[in-house]
């Protein structure tokens, strides 16, 4: 019976509903396991000195000013971008909506890079939805239950994300390495122009991830004359092992499909 179950889950997708149901049932386990870090958060917010708070508020005010200044320009830049795109006859870029979610658990198994979020089907989360944090792409939703969802990180060995080099638009595929700090880029010919320090952004090919979110930064390029392809390693931009507050992106048109 169990062997049948394993094959069924490996080969077909029919068990999604069952999995979601059990997931809803066992959510209290994650909730309880999350209590220590909740207490830590609570302590951080309640036991801080007045000066620290003042300093932080001052810093945030400065940051806010700078960001506001940038947004002023952004409106006109966006309008200009739309005009130029119209001139080029290409489709307009749509702004994406986001939903703030909180991390409530990580997969205990070291060979799986997955995290659990506190938003589920009730909040409109759907399978395949991209997840970002403040600094880059994190992964995509693979399981949705009523109140929680499970996200496969971009560094999982079974995950790949289509990227392009921000500098010159060279396309590639970044595959997870199983380690939280590295992505591997395979099948890039040895003569391709990729350098250390290049920023890789999501290319939007494949239709799963939206265009233009930072994915990783190239940290090493090895060109072995005996090999047909260069060996490239990149470090994910997102703080995969540190972010607690993350953003679920609703890309236009995809939420309605599923």
């Amino acid at each position: 019976m169990v062997v049948g179950l394993i094959t069924a889950d490996l080969r077909f997708n029919g068990l999604q509903r069952t999995r979601a149901l059990i997931d809803t049932l066992v959510l209290p386990v994650y909730w309880v396991a999350d209590i220590p870090s909740r207490i830590g958060d609570w302590k951080e917010t309640h036991f801080v000195s007045r000066t620290t708070l003042q300093e932080e508020s001052e810093r945030l005010r400065r940051e806010n000013l700078i960001l506001e200044g940038r947004t002023q320009q952004m409106a006109s830049l966006q309008a200009e971008n739309v005009r130029l795109r119209a001139l080029l006859n290409s489709s307009a870029l749509l702004r994406d909506d986001v939903l703030v979610a909180e991390l409530i658990g990580v997969s205990p198994d070291p060979v799986r890079q997955q995290v659990v979020l506190n938003k589920g089907a009730r909040d409109g989360v759907y399978v395949g939805q991209p997840l970002i944090d403040a600094s880059g792409l994190m992964g995509q939703v693979v399981d949705v239950s009523e109140f929680s969802s499970r996200v496969l990180l971009i560094t999982d060995v079974t995950h790949s994300v289509p990227v392009q080099v921000n500098r010159n638009g060279v396309r590639a595929i970044a595959e997870g390495s199983g380690s939280l700090s590295a992505l591997e880029i395979h099948h890039v010919s040895a003569t391709t122009d990729i350098r250390v320090g290049d920023l890789l952004v999501s290319s939007g090919l494949g239709g799963r991830f939206p265009v233009g979110y930072p994915v990783a930064e190239v940290v090493s390029v090895e060109r072995d004359p005996g090999q047909p392809f260069a060996q490239i390693l990149a470090r994910p931009s997102a703080a995969l092992d540190r972010s607690r507050h993350v953003l679920l992106v609703f890309t236009a048109g995809q939420a309605e499909e599923s």
Binding site: D9, L10, V106, P110, D241
Partner: protein, 161 residues
Amino acid sequence: MNQRAQGYWVVMASLFVAAVLAVLPLPPWLAWGRPEWLALVLIYWCIALPQRIGVVVALLSGLAMDVLEGAVLGQNAFALSVLALLSVALYQRLRVFSLWQQAGIVFLLIGIHQLICQWVQNLQGIGERSLLFLLPALTSALLWPLVLFLLRGLRRHFRVA
């Protein structure tokens, strides 16, 4: 009937606590050595109450564990059922063993558990190549005395039978 089903909630509560311990975030350098808490607790109850706790409880808690880990549905269920089957078969011998002999058997049982999990993960193509996956068997065996004393104390205190 009521007499026989006494203190069943203690078993359930201990399994729940084991599941929480099993998903508690650990620093990366410790992640490979995480003891198999659920397996340890199951072994104890299989030895203590073989007429009550067995393959069915193992199967259900294994399914819950699969979903918690995001593993293939059935991986832990299969491994834990085999574990429960073996310990129910061995319980008479296990009860008379000395503490460290028991720990040795626990090492073997959890090693088998890890091996089954490893097989299923390899079917999925994400298994670990080195023998690192056997580390939890060692840590679990070392923790066996602690689990034994704790759960025995609970069982006597609440008169679970």
